[in-house]
């Protein structure tokens, strides 16, 4: 299968940023067949996400994280599992952010490519679409997605690497409530898509818990560009805080700019969804004082090294999902090494009993028993950032 990296090279280096998608395999051109009798073997790892269409930048972030982790491991000679050392081969499929293609891709990975582990998918719709295929074939899934329905007791092989607002909003709102003691009213504006309603259902109770009253909840259709009418409606109740919820970085930037234009004086908060660089670029001064959820501290040396490496290779800025999939991949490979097995039942039990994992960012633990009935939600340290004069300033780090 021609790898996309080669494709990009063929198209010439003068190419614009934002396209590079390299499924770079260190052991380039390794024969597809497993030549596993001896000590050497190849472990095929599946990946599904939106790699074309509007969700592409998130999907590429996830894939980049996974591939960089695979690259690290393969450079170090492979994953030693018992008496076999495996080199990792990533097989990535695009699901166009929709259910049926995701189900089809999962079917191909499971029965054609015979993978035992799948990273992704990105969206909740794809997540729910592949569950039947992966669970019935005991395939380990390490996903993103926002929906509460993703994890449950009857899905033993499904895990989630990215913490959702169910985990993040509470500590984050606690910090903001302390930081803005006189702000008492909040309005939430979110896209009418799978993330929208879910994220709102998490942040609202968090605000109430810390004494902030949610006075308006608004939705907009994906693709909306003129938010002024909806913002006029929100402004009528003049909230102290406007929560941008799960809006994409671009939409968030436009919302902040337009809100300031029609006279919003309060503070902006973005609880859900990483990636604030675009928002600052578009909103400019309007983004001042924006509190936002940041999966990493861009200035922290080890993180900086990773993001630079990502940008060097894929020519696009890295986003938060990349960090979780990089750390998640390393965590999985380490677990394989520790359990001396690639069997998904063994791995599943090992993950569930894993006390903690020390990654680049710090301590990761598995949680979510209360929210989902099963401890398959990875809870990661995260930062509450704030925009000060156009720069990203990390205000605090929140450990799980």
């Amino acid at each position: 299968m021609s790898c996309l990296g080669g494709l990009r090279a063929k198209l010439g280096s003068a190419w614009k940023a934002g396209v590079a998608l390299a499924a770079l395999v260190v052991v380039a051109g390794a024969p597809n067949a497993t030549y596993a009798q001896g000590k050497k073997a190849e472990l095929k790892v599946g990946f599904i996400a939106a790699l074309s269409g509007p969700g592409m930048s998130w999907g590429m972030g996830m894939l980049g994280g996974l591939e960089l982790a695979a690259e690290d491991v393969n450079k170090a000679g492979g994953v030693v599992v018992g008496d076999t050392t495996y080199t990792i081969k990533v097989i990535a499929y695009d699901d166009k952010y929709a259910g049926p293609p995701a189900a089809q891709a999962a079917q191909r990975l499971v029965s054609q490519d015979e993978v035992k582990v799948i990273f992704g998918p990105l969206g909740s719709v794809s997540m729910l679409a592949i569950a039947d295929t992966t669970e019935s074939n005991k395939v380990l899934v390490l996903s993103n997605s926002y929906t509460m329905k993703a994890l449950s007791k009857d899905k033993p092989y499904t895990f989630r690497l990215t913490p959702t607002t169910a985990e993040n909003s509470d500590p984050m709102v606690a910090f903001i409530a302390k930081d803005l003691p006189d702000a008492k009213t909040v309005a939430i504006i979110s896209p009418n898509d799978e993330s929208g309603k879910e994220v709102q259902s998490h942040s609202e109770p968090a605000y109430q818990k810390y004494g902030l009253k949610v006075i308006s909840k608004e939705f907009y259709e994906r693709g909306t560009q003129d938010f002024v009418p909806v913002l006029t409606r929100i402004m009528a109740q003049n909230p102290a805080i406007l929560d941008l919820d799960g809006s994409t970085p671009v939409d968030s930037g436009v919302i902040m700019k337009q809100a300031r234009q029609i006279g919003f004086k309060g503070k902006f908060v973005k609880v859900g969804g990483p990636g604030v660089a675009d928002s600052i670029k578009i909103a400019g001064p309007a983004a001042e004082d924006l509190y936002y959820y940041s999966p990493w501290n861009p200035e922290e040396p080890k993180t900086k090294a990773l993001t630079d490496r990502f940008e060097a290779k894929y020519k696009i800025p890295m986003n938060g999902l990349g960090i979780f999939f990089y750390e998640g991949a390393h965590m999985l490979f380490a677990t394989m090494k520790q359990t001396k097995s690639v069997d998904t039942d063994v791995l599943r039990k090992a993950l569930e009993s894993q006390k903690e994992y020390m990654g680049l960012q710090g301590r990761y633990v598995w949680g979510g028993a209360k929210a989902y009935g099963i401890n398959h939600q990875w809870i990661a340290p995260f930062f509450v950032g704030q925009v000060r004069k156009g720069a990203e300033v990390m205000r605090t780090k929140i450990e799980p």
């Binding site: 396209v19 009418n192 909306t224 560009q225 002024v228 009418p229 006029t232 436009v254 006279g263």
Partner: protein, 289 residues
């Protein structure tokens, strides 16, 4: 909650989005009126126009207004070439032209996603600051859009009503064969009409880019609005596009502010389903519509 200031704000907001809808619908209805083509790729010319302005201003440092003019010219010429290569051979076969327009839409999006990537960009607005009165806030950049739209409309009106090209456009719109019999180079007029429609969409893209953001998939939503406006106003009717655009702009603004964003989106469809059933040719359409 309904105060005079909210009503004023609703009207002002509606005016801006209305202006944008008019520009989009104008090009679309021109192409339909003359080529009988439902141009599904119209949103992509709007997106291309915005990106050309983006590159001209940020990379080449051109000033905003000449960038918009140049972008309109470039996309207009590209439109003429597209008409000649893709649509001219399919003349008369309405379904084939419609499906080709769909293919063109996907193809342009595909190429741009590869070339530009899928992130959002933005252009510094040529005008900043907001006109604030006690009960109204109206950013100057939006006033600029309304102003430029009026200029474009006036220019377009003069072209259609008083120039020879305008006469031949109107002749072909009424009856291609009759126009041919009178020696009007119909094929060239078709190409010019398509180019003009594309240029109008590019201008809309250029005007809107600094206010909103631009990304490769922005064409889809804009096309949907153009559809709704053109059906409201009547397919192929120029005044219909103007009235329909403003009507939709103000109605959506009112609904969004009073009842929330989702009802505003639903409104567009209910309006056109109503109009299509009550008067299929639209409010102001010509009899032959």
């Amino acid at each position: 909650m309904i105060t005079t200031s909210t009503i004023a704000q609703i009207l002002v907001n509606g005016l801006t989005s209305g202006a944008f809808y008019v520009l989009m619908a104008l090009g679309f209805t021109l192409i339909f009126g003359i080529l009988r083509l439902v141009n599904f790729a119209h949103g992509e010319f709007y997106m291309l126009g915005a990106f050309v302005v983006y590159h001209l201003t940020t990379q080449l440092g051109l000033d905003y207004f000449s960038a918009v003019a140049l972008s309109a010219l470039v996309i207009g010429l590209a439109g003429m070439m597209v008409e000649k290569t893709v649509f001219a051979p399919l003349r008369g076969r309405e379904l084939s032209m419609l499906m080709s327009a769909l293919g063109l839409q996907i193809a342009i999006q595909g190429v741009m996603a590869v070339v530009e990537g899928v992130d959002g960009f933005s252009i510094p607005s040529p005008v900043s600051g907001v006109y604030r009165s006690s009960w109204l806030a109206f950013p100057y950049e939006r006033l600029l859009v309304v102003g430029l739209t009026i200029v474009v409309l006036a220019g377009f009106y003069l072209l259609i009503k008083h120039s020879t090209l305008g006469k031949s456009l109107r002749a072909v719109a009424q009856d291609g064969e009759a126009a041919l019999m009178q020696g009007i180079p119909v094929n060239r007029v078709y190409a010019i009409a398509f180019g003009l429609g594309a240029a109008l969409a590019a201008i809309a893209g250029g005007l809107i880019a600094p206010i909103f953001s631009l990304h490769v998939y922005m064409g889809q939503a804009a096309l949907l609005k153009a559809f709704i406006v053109v059906i409201l106003g009547g397919l192929g009717s120029i005044p219909g596009a103007v009235v329909g655009g403003l009507l939709l702009g103000v109605a959506e603004s009112a609904f969004a502010t009073l009842f929330g964003g989702l009802t505003a989106e639903m409104l567009g469809f209910l309006l056109i389903m109503g109009v299509l059933l009550w008067k299929p040719t639209g409010i102001l359409a010509r009899a032959d519509g």
